[in-house]
């Protein structure tokens, strides 16, 4: 069971070019109904029908959780990926009808926190925009530290500075600015929670620095924007369903299972949450594990696979689905 089992019909109400590589997409319900309320950090799964391939990509909601008439997401164009962002940038126009899931949150604020410290890199700013609206309404202190390549790429910084003043700071690479993580993470009052979203290297640096300074894991939160990698097509036998499926080059194993109508659990679609963990019945070949969930032993045993991001190459793969 997953949120993407029941989709909401929406119409694209607006497409805004934020900068040369980022576009914002706004959605309203086709009937003008209110969209579901949500919590800051949530994402929706957007279904894309790309020339015969059905793709489902998660995108963080950047609109305010208190705004029920429309949702907004921002998509960074990445031509090296499997085509999801390319599709959004090139094919999606205002007026187009699409389907989205209800919001799902894997990157929620810890509501016990006395202060929320947010560290964003590039497109990782999106979940924080929704979270700041939430923290602001709740009256809980927060700070955003936003690293971008250049001023022009620091999407939304101007409006954030307008809304939140000194609570937001921007650091541009091309100006030689960077977040002093050691100083920032040594000066927070007890009860602060830190949240980081951005490139993998940045997340690793923040988590390592926080840990080395003594922050408990329970106070450190992060979200990777992991897209399933492309690869060679491959066949899979689903033992319980008794069917064979083909996973396309630009399609994830998860999407192929979903397209076949076979039930499968999932949540983050990015290899981090563990929900889609599937038992491998038979494996004659190599599993390319691209997730953050299984440990070394599990990967080596080839008895488990994370269908949302992992792939297969070889003679035969049979799954307990």
């Amino acid at each position: 069971m997953s949120a993407s089992d029941h989709l909401i019909p929406v119409v694209v109400s607006n497409v805004v070019e934020v900068n040369p590589i980022i576009k914002r997409f706004e959605f309203k319900h086709v009937n003008g109904d209110e969209l579901p309320a949500f919590s800051g950090g949530a994402h929706i799964v957007v279904e894309m029908l790309d020339d015969g391939t059905k793709r489902k990509n998660p995108y963080s909601l950047m609109s305010s959780p208190f705004e029920r008439d429309q949702y907004a997401i921002s998509v960074r164009r990445d031509d090296t990926g499997r085509g999801g962002s390319k599709f959004m940038h090139e094919q999606v126009r205002p007026g187009m009808q699409m389907k989205i899931s209800a919001p799902v949150n894997l990157f929620a604020l810890d509501l016990r926190a006395r202060k929320h410290l947010m560290i964003a890199g590039g497109i990782g700013i999106t979940p924080f925009i929704a979270q700041m609206a939430q923290a602001d309404k709740l009256g809980v202190p927060f700070e955003l530290h936003y690293a971008a390549r250049s001023v022009s790429q620091a999407a939304y910084m101007d409006s954030l500075a307008d809304r939140f003043g000194d609570n937001v700071s921007c650091y541009c690479d091309d100006q030689g600015e960077s977040v002093d993580l050691e100083m920032l993470l040594s000066s927070q009052p007890l009860g602060t929670h830190v949240y980081v979203c951005g490139p993998k290297g940045m997340i690793e640096r923040v988590v390592e620095t926080a840990t080395s300074l003594g922050w408990p894991a329970a106070h450190v939160h992060f979200e990777h924007f992991l897209a399933p990698p492309v690869g060679e097509p491959f066949e899979v036998h689903l033992a319980k369903a008794g069917i064979d499926i083909t996973v396309g080059a630009e399609q994830s194993l998860l999407e192929a299972v979903e397209a076949s109508g076979t039930p499968i659990n999932c949540m983050c679609r990015g290899g981090a949450c563990g929900q889609c963990e599937t038992v491998v019945v038979a494996c004659e070949g190599e599993i390319m594990h691209n997730d953050h969930w299984l440990d070394e032993e599990q990967r080596a045993s080839r008895q488990r696979i994370m269908p949302c991001v992992s792939r297969f190459r070889g003679k035969r793969l049979e799954l307990d689905l």
Binding site: M1, S101, A102, V104, A108, L111, M267
Partner: protein
């Protein structure tokens, strides 16, 4: 929909009883002739018209009397309704879910009008007519969880989701089967279930937690839980154990039919939108043995379940004192004939 609300008591003279028409809709908890713990969760969508699964929050003939009993419990012990400080948003989510659901499913009884944030709520059976600002607790007489909790049947716990676990951080619990909110508040899923025998080893809670962590908005689930209670008493809290404990000594072969009640919990699970918490309603249904056995299938099955119940469960569910005479009494309703699968009477 006209429901005749009963004026009855769940304490003292125990005038509670089910109308004959209410008996077949009872959520009998045994789908087969044997019982063991399982993660018996299924989707909670509208099923069988007239059954307790038809609507999101079932309202039946006992509604008004149950709410009166709740008010008495809370007056005596306010600690039965508590919320940790970070659970206010969740309280509003809960209030919204109940009001929207009840106004939709029972339009003759409940009415909700929204003008932006200004909400107007009418609860006819309880004679409530209130206007308030959604999200602003100063416009309600109490915490939103308590406000709506006093108007909906069943105990309600709200579970905060964080660190890969669920935390019982708020609840209004006045009809519990022997657990204390005041003690358990703040515990996580495994901690508050710690006293349950056998289930942990079977992995029941691991599977249940994994399921609940991914519960999406708009896709509630449900399961049934059960025990037995002597006299139709809702408040069987540990706090009041000295009051209801002695009832267990009063069961005799002559009075089993009217005194021993099958106590079923319809547990549902809902993802709350703004707080990302899980709402956990525990709706209790009571039916006297006399009433249960009016349905032949239930009479046969209940005998078999009770006869073969594992000793650890007899002990844990508090049935030890009268279990043997109950099994004996039930045997008269079991002719050995096969029973149909599923919980509904034939």
């Amino acid at each position: 929909m006209t429901i005749q609300f009963k004026d009855e008591s769940f304490r003292g003279d125990f005038t509670y009883a089910n109308s004959p028409s209410n008996i077949p809709r009872f959520p009998f908890p045994f789908p087969e002739d044997e019982y063991m713990y399982s993660t018996n969760i299924e989707p909670h969508h509208a099923a069988r018209a007239g059954s307790p699964f038809e609507n999101a929050f079932d309202v039946d003939e006992h509604y008004v009397a149950e709410m009166k009993d709740r008010a008495l419990v809370l007056a005596d012990d306010p600690g039965r309704c508590q919320a940790l400080p970070h659970m206010e948003t969740a309280g509003w989510d809960f209030l919204e879910l109940v009001m929207v659901s009840k106004a939709r499913d029972y339009p003759d009884l409940f009415k909700l009008t929204m003008d932006g944030d200004r909400w107007h709520w009418i609860n006819k059976p309880l004679q409530i007519d209130d206007t308030f600002t959604f999200g602003d607790s100063s416009t309600l007489p109490c915490h939103p969880m308590e406000y709506i909790g006093r108007q909906v049947q069943g105990d309600h716990a709200i579970l905060d989701q964080r660190d890969g676990n669920l935390w019982m951080d708020a609840g209004i619990i006045t009809a519990q089967a022997d657990w204390s909110l005041d003690f358990d508040i703040g515990m996580n899923f495994f901690e508050w279930h710690a006293p349950v025998p056998l289930a942990h080893e079977l992995g029941v809670f691991q599977r249940a937690l994994k399921f609940l962590l991914t519960l999406p908005q708009g896709q509630p689930s449900r399961r049934l839980n059960w025990t037995l209670t002597v006299n139709p008493r809702l408040d069987t809290s540990p706090e009041n154990y000295p009051k209801w404990g002695p009832d267990r000594m009063t069961v005799t072969p002559e009075n089993i039919g009217e005194k021993v009640h099958l106590r079923v919990e319809l547990q549902t699970f809902w993802r709350l939108p703004r707080s990302n918490a899980i709402l956990f309603p525990i709706r209790t249904y009571l039916m006297a043995m006399n009433e249960v056995v009016t349905q032949p299938k239930w009479g046969r099955r209940l005998h078999r379940v009770m006869r073969d119940l594992r000793p650890e469960l007899v002990e844990y569910k508090g049935l030890s004192r009268y279990h043997p005479i109950l099994v004996e009494w039930l045997s008269q309703f079991d002719d050995g004939a096969p029973t149909s699968p599923g919980i509904f009477p034939d």
